[in-house]
Symmetry: C2
Subunit: 352 residues, 2 copies
Amino acid sequence: MSAPASKSPATLHDVAREAGVSLATASRSLNGSARKVNEAYRERVVEAAQRLGYTTNLFAQAVAKGSTTTVALLVADIADPYFSSIAAGVIDAASEENLVVTIAVTGRNAQRELETVRALRGQRPRVMILAGSRPTASAFQEELRAELTAFEDTGGKAAFISQDAPPFATVLLDNRRGAHDLAVSLAELGYRDVAVIAGPSEIRTAEERLDGFTAGLAEHGILLTPERIIQADFTRDGGYRGAQELLASGLAVDLIFAVNDVMAVGVVSALRNAGVVPGEEIGVAGYDDIPTVQDITPALTTVRIPLEDVGRRALRLATGSASSGAGTEAGDGPGTIPMKTILRESTPRRQA
Amino acid sequence: MSAPASKSPATLHDVAREAGVSLATASRSLNGSARKVNEAYRERVVEAAQRLGYTTNLFAQAVAKGSTTTVALLVADIADPYFSSIAAGVIDAASEENLVVTIAVTGRNAQRELETVRALRGQRPRVMILAGSRPTASAFQEELRAELTAFEDTGGKAAFISQDAPPFATVLLDNRRGAHDLAVSLAELGYRDVAVIAGPSEIRTAEERLDGFTAGLAEHGILLTPERIIQADFTRDGGYRGAQELLASGLAVDLIFAVNDVMAVGVVSALRNAGVVPGEEIGVAGYDDIPTVQDITPALTTVRIPLEDVGRRALRLATGSASSGAGTEAGDGPGTIPMKTILRESTPRRQA
DNA sequence: GGTAGCAGAGAAAGCGCTTACCGAAGCCTT
DNA sequence: AAGGCTTCGGTAAGCGCTTTCTCTGCTACC
């Protein structure tokens, strides 16, 4: 049952001996060094390494070099398609730069997020990317900021996604504008009795979407009164319950906008279970354009965010390999991601 | 534009000096050591560490200790809900044991997988978890096996998910039985003209599901002829095209089973676009029970796998903290995950 | 032919941490 | 009261790498 006396992995030392060269030469041969190495030597070293199944111990390398090849990514929930798509982008861009990605999940919990950041700092990652944090909770806000500042002071780089956290880099999603445009489109389609399933108020993203949406409606003379705004928690079930609550309230409603798709899916389900035909009797719109929403019935109107791109962008922004200009619409300001309203069956034109 | 002369992070040395104790004492105070430390000293050290914003450099610790706190997870595609759910489980279980998880994606590419394993080895992870590999491709198979063997020989532990790779630990999903039971249920519902959207033949999981399904049908006298089996690639689009192909073939079909849900979703979409009402004219079934499938119309019949559990289990299996017995059905053999057929609207009882 | 100059291998000093090992101090035993 | 234990700081030797610096052996130039 017990493991066989496991030899430890081959070290550079072993390789050097095997190749009959010095430690220094071995190091220089294997890991790109500024200095040149005699080609014959290099070959011998490479062969020896191969023979011994040697792989550079990245930890040792990191301590010697004083810098790592790690990227830390914090997400609220990796099983949520919003975050997993972003993660895919981050990982993709990272592997292009030979960086490995460590993922931690914070469960939308500020306390936990702070702890995670602290723990992750021990890894001395080159960069830290935070998605889905809720920095509005000001007590933690301060501590988090302090922690990240310390991180940056010691050579790291922090980047936020969709969260404008002033001293730090951000991949800005123009949630306000996206939601605004969506509202305008919907108003033009004839919707008037609008309700919103909002997100947790401490989450900036949620707040911005609500704001933008409200503003867009206002331009068409539609007022979003407080009782038409239901708070939920970004989950499918939250959306479901929100819709139920709305139906129970007896308010006249011809459109429900959930500030993210996951909740919108819950809304659709709730409506149907309540005997309301989504899309016909009540329109439904979401936000994010996660893959699911084009497959449900009715296909959901939403706002598309190129999530993988966002992830990639965040990484590049943080590592400094910013492909400046690419993808950034002129006038959007640097780093702002374009979004697009996608109208689908869930919000047909309203017969007046 | 350039960063301010960034001081490097505080070291243990700094802490020791600040607290007026020796390096050794500082180390012992901060990182659980077998030996006792005078409480007064310990406090001073802890305070000093706090004051300096010190966090143990895990890399240095790892090189000194000769062991890390890293877990490497390889998945085919992190944006696929199948894998992201597993990842969620792995991360959850890992954080319980204070391990950090590094995720790499291999894109269902054997070559890439091999390279990734090699690269990840450099991190000297405690364990490596492989999900969605395709070890049937025998050339790489050998090399991969060799690499992993070397990994284990040097103290690591490799674990596969849903992939029986003999010398290594595995969280076995009884795909064969799950698919078998599904087939039986469907046959009992009256389906006869069955077709399958199979997965890539090198992927064991795909193969097992096809096998089990075929066997289940056979018990009810239903023969699955080769032209009724379409190969696809586990993606939504693959399922979509598979269904198109099937429709174009002119075969009589009353049920399409896609070996994973993601493809099944594509099938539903293809049917509908071709003017066929899924669930009524042709039944559809999938496998995995990803969240989406209960929200699409018709809700899909599928086989439920407790994916997060699978991830958790894999981690525990690999770290040795096996909660033996928990969740394992007696007689299933250790480590086999129970699965359950979920019948939904997409496969109503067939009128004879 | 002699000296300057350069290329490039090797020795050795770290990187930040852990952990034998050493030795001073306090306690007990007889 | 003296020797032997136990306790617990501190010293220093690594862990597996990188990198500076030294030093040898050439080539090159006049």
